[in-house]
Symmetry: C2
Subunit: 332 residues, 2 copies
DNA sequence: ACCGTTTAGCAAATCGGTTTGCACGAATCA
DNA sequence: TGATTCGTGCAAACCGATTTGCTAAACGGT
């Protein structure tokens, strides 16, 4: 009735626990014939090593965690959720193939709550400067890797999202499609992607000699806040004829704002976003976006984390080249 | 340097490990004064019980898993993902408040892969008949609860989605909004929500004396398959003036199909869906949908699972009353 | 014939908690 | 006063793996 243990298996196979352990782990040589016999009997009696026992001995938990500092439940949630969850889905598969469970850390939990989770490592999605999650886990000595650099923390391995290059690509596309005054809408949190995007944007404006028009919105405000803020920007700066709005929820708001101003997309104003989720695809007109290759990114992040857990000093890894997905919102 | 253990704490407090253990677990009475001293010192030296050790002894892993049998990566994925992930987000919070980690099980993994995950219990989201995941975990003796009944498995506790009543509500709304011939589009997998929905639909058709028009689509086909299939249904049955399409990805397809047939929504054909996600909201026109209260459902599911883990014979729990979200797609 | 080196396998210690059985003193009861 | 209970705490067994140190046999070279 009870689950068979390594002792049961050892007894059934007529060897010691040690030999069984070595047969499975390969840490020491075991006669191939013996190993086969052990494996066969293991099959028969349905032996599965007890994870808790393994973890106690090895000091590992066999679990990695995925966290985002974006509240799940705020207005911007569903959109961010798309981004995060696309990563989660791939990461779950990637960890499982490495024999690890992937668990989800809800954002902004108190430290005491987080104690329930003792992962071998953590993947943080687009953390911001002084992110409390970074502090919590690095403080505990748990390896952390991030998707998107942690601003001000060069020591944390990450998958680089190349946000600067992405911004450049989008801005140049907007210009090529006929725009002459391009505005930028990002978030208020100091995430690296915003920082890099803004830097690239300012450099671009400088180069072509236009006055930057930059909006930084509270991410919890979501679509509605963006609609309002963008409308007021468009009133102030009637010359704007294109917007790069990396956060897709904000881009939805921008669509609304344009409509309220009687501006047609793309005739009067062009619009491009970054994350190519449902919002970009279903928008009217559909929005030009960037294929970030989130699956590949998630895979890289898991790999990076595994290396970090194994004590390898990993640096950064670059995400695959982002690609423009051209849609009607930036047609010339 | 090393993390303090229970022995260290016991020594520092001048008591035995036993007393420390009891002080924390409350399984036996400990002098309040002693307990306080222990807790104070625990704070000071930063003692945290080693989860692996606890798990080994208690036979628990402190982890519950969330699984859906819907492939993450197929065309219908992003939509299903929304549904699943809304539940995941809430469930993650709910489990953490109960001192459990929530981990994600990617669908359709081989049994060998799944071995990496040994949860104390599993929440299955809308499983279908003979779902392999149900078999896998019940076979392992792991408590399983589901969101939506498992067809043919009355023994598995679940949060009832009341799909029959939901269908009835939507169908009556469609009729009230002027529809006389209502069609139904569901999925091919035998999920309980489809079964109940179809039954309610047939009963409804019987009652008002219309010929049922029912489509069951392969869920991996997603939007494109639905567009095609619905278009052909509309050709066959030109009298249809309303559709209930519970799966939102299919509903998107139906929108496309209607457009391709030159039918206006809602003038020529009314359209309602179930899951009120981004698709329903962003569709043109926006789709009438059903507020299922997924957060509450997730919460209930976690509670149910905890009870099951603690050996309580839990039955079913009913989800909160679903509510219609009226939108332009069914305006009369 | 001797010594060194593999090869194969075992016994016992170990990880850090929880739980059981028992001891000892103080309080309560007959 | 002797017997019983209660409160408090300890020592040791236990959970099921991994890992270390050791033995004994087989093999090969000189």
């Amino acid at each position: 009735m009870k689950k068979p243990t390594i002792s049961d298996l050892a007894q059934a196979a007529g060897v010691s626990k040690t030999t069984v352990s070595h047969a499975f782990s390969g840490r020491r040589h075991v006669d191939p014939e013996t190993r086969e016999r052990i494996e066969k009997i293991a099959q028969e009696i349905g032996y599965r090593p007890n994870r808790a026992a393994q973890h106690l001995r090895t000091g590992r938990t066999g679990m990695i965690a995925l966290a985002s500092s974006m509240p799940f439940s705020v207005a911007a949630g569903p959109s961010r959720l798309g981004f995060l969850m696309e990563i989660a889905a791939t990461a779950a598969v990637a960890s499982l193939t490495r024999n690890m469970a992937l668990c989800l850390i809800p954002p902004f939990q108190s430290g005491a709550q987080l104690d329930a989770i003792t992962p071998d490592g953590v993947i943080l999605v687009e953390p911001f400067q002084d992110d409390p999650l970074v502090q919590h886990f690095t403080g505990l000595g748990v390896p952390v890797v991030s998707v998107g650099r942690v601003p001000g923390r060069e020591d944390i391995p990450h998958v680089d999202l190349n946000s600067g290059a992405t911004a450049r690509m989008v801005l140049e596309h907007l210009r090529a499609s006929g725009a002459t005054r391009i505005g930028l809408v990002t978030g208020e949190q100091r995430r690296n992607s915003y920082i890099e995007t803004e830097a690239a944007y300012r450099a671009f404006c400088d180069e072509i000699g236009i006055e930057p028009a930059c909006l930084q919105l509270n991410e919890s405000g979501g679509e509605d806040l963006a609609a309002e803020a963008v409308a007021s920007l468009l009133s102030r700066r009637g010359d704007i004829d294109a917007l790069y709005v990396p956060v897709d929820a904000f881009a939805s708001g921008a669509v609304t704002a344009a409509a309220s101003k009687g501006l047609k997309i793309p005739q009067n104003i062009r619009l491009a976003t970054r994350y190519d989720g449902l919002r970009a695809k279903l928008s009217r007109p559909p929005l030009t976006a960037v294929e970030l290759h989130l699956e590949a990114i998630a895979d890289l992040a898991v790999g990076l984390l595994m290396a970090a857990i194994d004590g390898e000093v990993a640096g950064l890894v670059s995400a695959p080249q982002p690609e423009l997905v051209l849609r009607a919102s930036t047609a010339s």
